[in-house]
């Protein structure tokens, strides 16, 4: 990496040069237009950029294409060499076989229950806690807030063992409550929503206070409607986390009928090395498609939410 001190002075020098251009009368468009003139036509300049972009796209699309195509290929197509890129015929036999081998209906039901209830609870808890931290008084509130944020630094993997024991003491192993409960506390969601609530215009709340609105009314009629994007972001991150969660459902459930979809896949994977790829891929498709759909519909929220959540260790 370049020496920071030299680059800093260079950057400052450039800035000064830029300013002097502005001062001597030419408009701020000056430097931009001159660079545009020097730049060759974008297509000639960037043909390699397009090639790279396409190559990168393929690196990420081909595995997803393998997943999709293998799900609907016949075994004859899957187990032939050279590889058949296009299926010679489409079949739903893999899907049917996956359902025969494992109770996929139960897996889907469990995943939907855990995701919907877990994400809903997480959002509701975060909204109320965020409102409290933003607007309500409490002795030592700032200290409590720091304690809450500290949870972001606790690595989730280290909590698995004790949480399992705690759930065991509460008799919640292999139950929906056991699946959902440890994941619904949200430090990151509370933090994000609190920051958003506090950025809302104070006049609205003063007007509501003058009108004699209680806090619950203020939360539901004023704060939430003005915070829909932030709430949607927190909700989508929660949905993705719950749906994809692997290690906690693996530990806390022990009967086939309580497994969630990602764990359910393991029942399609044989351990003797002779995997039926078509069946396994069609099961995997069921796990992947809902989140792909959610992502396609709400890409912007999800990208901003997940890049923010990275700071929070998934809490």
């Amino acid at each position: 990496m370049a020496d920071p001190t030299t680059t800093r002075t260079a950057a400052e020098g450039d800035q000064r040069a830029d300013e002097s251009v502005g001062r001597t009368g030419s408009t701020s468009r000056g430097p931009a237009s001159s660079t545009r003139r020097r730049r060759p036509s974008p297509l000639r300049r960037s043909w390699w950029g397009y090639l790279l972009l396409i190559a990168v796209g393929l690196v990420f699309l081909i595995p997803l294409y393998m997943l999709l195509s293998t799900s609907f290929k016949t075994n004859g197509d899957i187990y032939s060499w050279p590889m058949k890129w296009l299926p010679s015929e489409l079949t739903f036999e893999n899907m049917r076989e996956a359902w025969r081998i494992a109770p996929f209906g139960a897996f889907i039901k469990n995943s939907v229950i855990v995701t919907v209830i877990g994400a809903t609870l997480k959002v509701v808890l975060a909204v109320f806690a965020a409102y409290a931290f933003a607007f309500l008084p409490f002795p030592g509130k700032k200290w409590l807030f720091v304690v809450m944020l500290g949870a972001l630094m606790v690595p989730g993997h280290v909590t698995l063992l004790v949480n399992y024991i705690t759930m065991g003491n509460m008799g919640l192993i292999n139950t929906y409550a056991g699946l959902i409960l440890p994941g619904v506390a949200s430090a990151f969601g509370t933090f994000l929503l609190r920051q958003h609530f506090m950025s809302l215009p104070a006049e609205v709340f003063e007007a509501a206070e003058v009108d004699g609105c209680g806090h619950l009314r203020r939360l539901i009629s004023f704060t939430l409607p003005m915070s829909i994007p932030a709430v949607v972001t927190v909700a989508l991150v929660a949905v993705i986390d719950e749906w994809n969660n692997f290690v906690w459902p693996l530990i806390i459930t022990n009967s086939v009928n309580m497994r969630t979809l990602p764990i359910g896949l393991m029942y399609l994977k044989s351990n003797d090395g002779l995997t039926n790829w078509g069946v396994l891929m069609s099961g995997t498709l069921i796990v992947v498609l809902p989140m792909l759909f959610v992502f396609l519909c709400a890409q912007r929220y999800i990208v901003s939410g997940l890049t923010g959540a990275a700071a929070g260790n998934g809490r």
Binding site: L53, P63, L136, H157, T159, L161, N244, T275, T284, L306
Partner: protein
């Protein structure tokens, strides 16, 4: 993190009080105010305590209890954990197999974080050129981040199938046979590293892209005016200016890489011959396959300490570098 939220909070708190305290405060007004404040306390407790209680039970308590369990020997079944002092730690310290676990974890973290960051910043530079189709491409590279790790692991198991997988196509291109990746002790770890990088690099590139788009344009234009070619601009101007982003990514990606689990669990189960047993897999395996609660807890404490040190480093670096 804790200083920035307090500033707006203070200004907001002062605004309403200054409005209400305009008339002189009589005794009954003061009493009413105190009542309202106390009702506020109750409401705060009602609103915030469920969340705080869950955080206490499921995030803070485990760290304390884990520390205690690490000093015991227990198998989940016997009525009481047996206190054994530091035995778990000393046995790990002298055990070659645990040294190997730490080594595999180190390789995992360094390779995954290092390559993800290098490829990620290059991808971000490509995306920042804003060629047509870039937004589609960014969506595509980000996709693995929203998809179940277990599902991705299964897809790549198929790709790594030595007889019918895509890896065989690639190896045949150079006239070689595909190794039997996940069942070969030499190839299993590289296979996992490839998948881990494939899953994470898109995310890294999007964070870097946001960093690049946030750079002051006048600096970049000035560099171009000074005759810097795009390679010089990238290495001398963009990369140094991105150092806060890089620090953020190094820390968060390291924390994530240490806890990698899904891919290992689905693709190799820590094998063959422990060649893919990372600290995270060791913690799981000792507790839930072998019922060595004490040893698992001790390994968990090791992980906790490592990650705390890294987080502390983050704060020191951020303090030094964020106002770069």
């Amino acid at each position: 993190m804790s200083t920035s939220p307090t500033a707006p909070e203070r200004s907001r708190k002062e605004a309403p009080t200054s409005v209400t305290s305009l008339p002189p405060l009589s005794a009954e007004r003061l009493a009413a105010r105190r009542r309202r404040l106390r009702r506020g306390y109750g409401l705060f407790a009602l609103f915030a305590f469920p969340n705080l209680a869950l955080i206490a039970v499921f995030a803070y308590w485990p760290i304390i209890a884990n520390l205690y369990l690490s000093l015991t020997s227990w198998d989940f079944i016997s009525p009481e954990p047996l206190f054994v002092g530091l035995t778990n730690y000393t046995s790990m310290l002298v055990s070659p197999s645990f040294h190997k676990v730490l080594w595999v974890s180190l390789v995992w973290v360094v390779v995954v974080v290092g390559i993800s960051l290098v490829l990620g910043v290059l991808l971000a530079a490509l995306f920042s050129k804003k060629l047509p189709g870039t937004s589609v491409a960014t969506g595509i590279v980000f996709t693995p981040h929203v998809v179940s790790g277990a599902a991705i692991a299964v897809v790549w198991l198929f790709i790594f199938d030595p007889n019918y997988g895509l890896a065989r196509v690639v190896f045949n291109l150079v006239g070689a046979d595909s190794p039997s990746w996940t069942t070969d002790a030499d190839w299993a770890l590289p296979a996992l590293l490839i998948v881990s990088i494939w899953k994470g690099v898109g995310f890294v590139s999007i964070v870097y892209l946001a960093g690049i788009q946030g750079l002051p344009t006048d600096v970049l234009e000035a560099a171009e005016l000074d005759g810097a070619n795009s390679f010089q601009t990238f290495t001398r101007v963009i990369l140094p200016l991105l150092s806060p982003t890089t620090f953020f990514l190094v820390i968060t990606q390291t924390i994530g890489a240490f806890q990698a689990f899904d891919l290992i669990a689905v693709m190799t189960n820590g094998g063959p011959a422990s060649s893919t047993t990372t600290l995270s897999w060791f913690i799981y395996e000792q507790a839930f396959s072998r019922s060595n609660v004490g040893l698992s807890a001790a390994a968990g404490t090791v992980m906790f300490v490592i990650l705390m040190v890294i987080t502390a480093l983050q704060f020191r670096f951020v303090e030094k570098k964020v106002h770069y």
